[in-house]
C-alpha cells in the first residue's frame, strides 16, 4: 500500500473506532441502556479483565504456549499474589512478581 492509502486506512479505522467509542457518551438512548444494564456490564468487565489475564498467560502469537516461559509467568504471578496477600500493596506486588519472573528466566536461560 502507498503512503496515501495508509493515511486513508488509518483515517477510516480511526473514524470507525471513534464512533464505537463515542456513541454511548453522545447518544442519550445508549446512555440510558448503560444505566439499565449496569449489572450485566459490570459482569462483562470482570470477564474481560480475567480474559486479558488468561490470554496473556497462556497464548503466544495466537497459539497455546505451555513451555518453560509459561511456567515462569505463572511463578511470577504466584509471587505477586503472595506479596499482595501479605501486604495488600499492588505496586509492590506487581514489581516483585514481574521482577521474580524476569530473574527466574534470566537464571534458567529459558
Amino acid at each position: 500500500m502507498t503512503n496515501l492509502e495508509w493515511l486513508i486506512a488509518v483515517g477510516g479505522a480511526a473514524a470507525g473506532t471513534y464512533v464505537l467509542r463515542a456513541a454511548p457518551f453522545l447518544w442519550a438512548p445508549l446512555r440510558e441502556a448503560g444505566r439499565k444494564y449496569a449489572d450485566f456490564l459490570s459482569y462483562v468487565s470482570f470477564a474481560i479483565a480475567a480474559g486479558i489475564v488468561s490470554k496473556a498467560m497462556l497464548l503466544q502469537e495466537g497459539r497455546f504456549a505451555l513451555g518453560p516461559e509459561t511456567y515462569i509467568k505463572f511463578a511470577g504471578l504466584a509471587v505477586a499474589l503472595g506479596v499482595y496477600r501479605g501486604t495488600r500493596n499492588i505496586p509492590l506486588a506487581l514489581f516483585l512478581g514481574a521482577g521474580a519472573a524476569v530473574a527466574i528466566r534470566w537464571m534458567s536461560g529459558a
Binding site: Y37, V53, M57, L94
Partner: protein, 215 residues
C-alpha cells in the same frame, strides 16, 4: 496517573511491537505514529498491518481495523454510568482514549470507597497510557527487533499481573467470581477459534450466563 503508571511498561512493550509491525509492513514512520495516536488500539493496528502484508485492499484494512475494535462500544457503554456528570460535549474528546486499561482501571476504581472523581482518574490513566503508547511506537520504529528478549518478556507481564491483582482484590460474590471464571477459562480457546474476538465473546457470554439466573 499513579494507577496508570502500573501498566506503562506493558503499554510501551505492546506498542514497541506495533512500531516493529509497522516497519515490517512498510508503513512510513509518521503514519505509524499517526495510527497509534488516531486508532490507539494495538490489536486493530496489528490486524491492519498483517492484512496489508497479505495483499488486503484498502476497504478490507479499514473494516478489520474497525471490527476488531467493536469491544470499545461495550466499554464506553459501561463508562457512561460513571461519567453521567460529564457533559457529552466534553466526552466527545475524551471518548477517543477508551481502551481496555483506561476502562478496566476506572471500573475497578469505582468499586473502592475512596472519594475520587472517576473522570479525573480516567484522564490520569489516559495521560500515562497514551504517552506510553506513542513512546512505545516510536521506540519500535527506531530500534526494530533489537529490544532485548528478557526486557520485552518482563514488560509484557505487567498488564496480566496487574489485572490479576485487581481481580483478586475487587471480585465479590458468586456472580462476579462466576463471570471472572468464565472469562478466564473460555477466552484462550475462543481466541484460538476467532483471533481478536475471544475476549469480547467470552465476556459477553459470561455476562449473559451470570445475569440470566437473576431475572
Amino acid at each position: 496517573m499513579r494507577a496508570g503508571s502500573s501498566v506503562v511498561p506493558t503499554f510501551v512493550a505492546i506498542f514497541i511491537g506495533v512500531g516493529i509491525a509497522a516497519e515490517v509492513a512498510g508503513v512510513a514512520p509518521v503514519t505509524a505514529l499517526l495510527s497509534t495516536a488516531a486508532v490507539f488500539a494495538a490489536p486493530a493496528q496489528f490486524a491492519m498491518f498483517d492484512l496489508a502484508m497479505q495483499d488486503g485492499v484498502l476497504l478490507q484494512v479499514i473494516s478489520v481495523g474497525v471490527l476488531v475494535n467493536l469491544r470499545f462500544f461495550v466499554m464506553s457503554l459501561t463508562l457512561t454510568t460513571f461519567f453521567s456528570h460529564v457533559p457529552p460535549s466534553r466526552m466527545a474528546c475524551w471518548a477517543q482514549f477508551v481502551s481496555a486499561s483506561s476502562y478496566l482501571m476506572t471500573f475497578f476504581q469505582s468499586r473502592r470507597d475512596e472519594r475520587l472523581d472517576l473522570f479525573d482518574f480516567y484522564r490520569g490513566v489516559i495521560f500515562m497510557t497514551f504517552s506510553a503508547a506513542v513512546v512505545g511506537t516510536a521506540i519500535g520504529i527506531v530500534i526494530g527487533a533489537r529490544l532485548p528478549a528478557l526486557l520485552a518478556f518482563g514488560a509484557t507481564l505487567f498488564l496480566p499481573i496487574y489485572f490479576s491483582l485487581l481481580l483478586v482484590g475487587e471480585t465479590r460474590g458468586r456472580r462476579e467470581v462466576g463471570a471472572a471464571m468464565i472469562g478466564l477459562v473460555l477466552t484462550p480457546p475462543l481466541e484460538l477459534l476467532l483471533p481478536g474476538w475471544g475476549i469480547f465473546i467470552a465476556a459477553v457470554g459470561a455476562g449473559i450466563a451470570v445475569s440470566v439466573p437473576k431475572r
